[in-house]
């Protein structure tokens, strides 16, 4: 029986979410040896990246990951890491111009019209 390792995908159990972004780009890293099978990542991932297999988490399709960070934030066993941040082109451009990575600015006083 094949036990999915850190970088395998569980074929045939993909969510089949219709639209995908760029392939092989996600910074999601999963260390299966640290996983104790609590199931939080399956509970929180809004893109169906994780599924329980043989009492541990397994990755269905890494390309579905949108780097929101919910899984890494709720994994208490350091099995998951991802480079989460604002995925808004305008925010990233502003960050490049000002030399840092700001947020979109929504919610701050006098700010723009996003969100």
């Amino acid at each position: 029986m094949h036990i999915a390792g850190s970088n395998d995908s569980v074929q045939g159990q993909g969510m089949g979410v219709a639209i995908k972004y760029l392939a092989n780009i996600t910074t999601l890293r999963y260390a299966a040896d640290k996983c104790i099978g609590c199931g939080r990542c399956v509970e929180v991932c809004p893109r169906g990246v994780f599924v329980m297999q043989d009492k541990r988490a397994a990755i269905t399709d890494k390309d579905q990951c949108m780097e929101c960070g919910a899984c890494a934030r709720n994994c208490d066993f350091s099995a998951l890491s991802v480079n989460a941040g604002v995925g808004c082109a305008a925010a990233i451009i502003t960050g490049l111009l000002t030399g840092r990575e700001p947020t979109c600015g929504c919610g701050d006083t006098g700010s723009g019209s996003c969100c």
Binding site: E43, R73, N74, D76, A84
Partner: protein
């Protein structure tokens, strides 16, 4: 007795969406109606189209739906009023508590990303509302998208309340609870259907159109600027097709590309915007018969600049989707920004060439 509210939000009258109060060991709590008034519907429309949404909020704190008791469920949400309205509507017929966090008038997803729908705020709000006195149990149901900002185990350690992440959509909450806090795959997944994409387009079109007068002024100036001064009539008649093409490229990037997103080839948003820009221009150009379009440098500049403008505008839509991530957008920008700058420069050179020939200098 004044219902429990954070000091800065105390108002003299009950909120318009409230329907009486429920008495609790900590005092009366406003009951939220599950029905929407015309004002609520109008508020939703205004929220989707402009800056109105920046101040559209409810006071954070505890609210009731129906007649909850000390054993009733607690649903946690953001204080953006549209979010709150959607939740209270979907809980119709239930008896439950709603804990509203101070997310500064931002919805759950964006607030979670910024940290305001977060661990600290949830802990603070639980303490503020004396939630442990109001209910006997220690369970909180959070929207799934709040997980981006809330570390469940830390909330449990600091407050004793156990966090479960419910469905993505509020409408699935009744079924989720009925199934014993079990979610189906569909309930756990965020999709991006056409209707959801469509309601986001006003907030793509508006910012783009706010910059439009600058583009229009630039185009008018190019054609009007003559050795004898600025000639308005000539400027207008020559500018018109280019103004139309500029408007078309805004719509290509801000409306058509988002609407047809999964049907446009390639995964890159910049390329999608470029394709839609080229196709829409191909459809419209044969309909424009102005002589100025036959000018070769201008024609080349138009075919370069307008599809690229559509591409840039379409790339902005990545900030509004449910499936694009920062790393991918950074990669798109790394490739795209030099191309955008290069195209603008080439277009400028071509326009200067046009001007120089027009004035007979070459």
């Amino acid at each position: 007795m004044q219902p429990l509210q954070t000091l800065k939000f105390i108002k003299k009258e009950p909120p318009k969406w409230s329907a009486g109060t429920v008495s609790t060991p900590v005092g009366p709590i406003f009951r939220a109606s599950s029905n929407w008034s015309d004002a609520d519907r109008w508020g939703m429309i205004k929220s989707r189209t402009g800056a109105f949404r920046m101040n559209y909020f409810v006071a954070p704190g505890l609210y009731a739906i129906g007649d909850p008791t000390a054993d009733s469920h607690i649903l946690v949400t953001a204080n953006y009023k549209l979010t709150f309205d959607l939740l209270r509507r979907e809980l119709k017929g239930m008896n439950a508590w709603i804990l509203v966090l101070d997310t500064k008038s931002i919805n759950v997803w964006c607030a979670a990303g910024k940290g305001t729908f977060g661990t600290e705020e949830l802990i603070r709000r639980i303490a503020d509302t004396k939630l442990d006195v109001v209910v006997n149990h220690r369970k909180l149901i959070l929207p799934q998208l709040g997980a981006v900002g809330v570390a469940a185990s830390e909330v449990q350690k600091k407050t004793g309340f156990r966090v479960v992440f419910g469905p993505v959509q509020a409408r699935d909450i009744p079924a989720y609870i009925k199934a014993g806090y079990k979610k189906t795959k569909e309930m756990s997944t965020i999709q991006f259907p056409m209707l959801d994409r469509l309601v986001l387009t006003p907030m793509e079109i508006n910012p783009a159109m706010q910059k439009f007068p600058w583009i229009a002024a630039g185009i008018l100036l190019i054609f009007g600027f003559q050795p004898s001064g600025i000639l308005f009539r000539q400027a207008w008649s020559n500018s018109l097709p280019f103004l139309l093409l500029a408007l078309l490229s805004v719509m290509s990037g801000a409306l058509i590309t988002p609407l047809l997103l999964p049907f446009v080839p390639f995964r890159s948003f910049a390329i999608k915007g470029l394709i839609v820009g080229i196709l829409s221009m191909s459809a419209v150009m044969p309909l424009l018969d102005q002589k100025i379009l036959h000018n070769v440098p201008l024609r080349i500049a138009a075919w370069l600049f307008f599809p690229i403008m559509s591409s840039y505008i379409a790339l902005q839509f990545t900030g509004s989707t449910t499936f694009t991530g920062m790393t991918g957008v950074k990669k798109e920008l790394k490739v795209g920004i030099p191309i955008y700058i290069g195209t603008v420069c080439i277009s400028l050179v071509l326009m200067i060439l046009f001007k120089v020939r027009e004035w007979g200098l070459l």
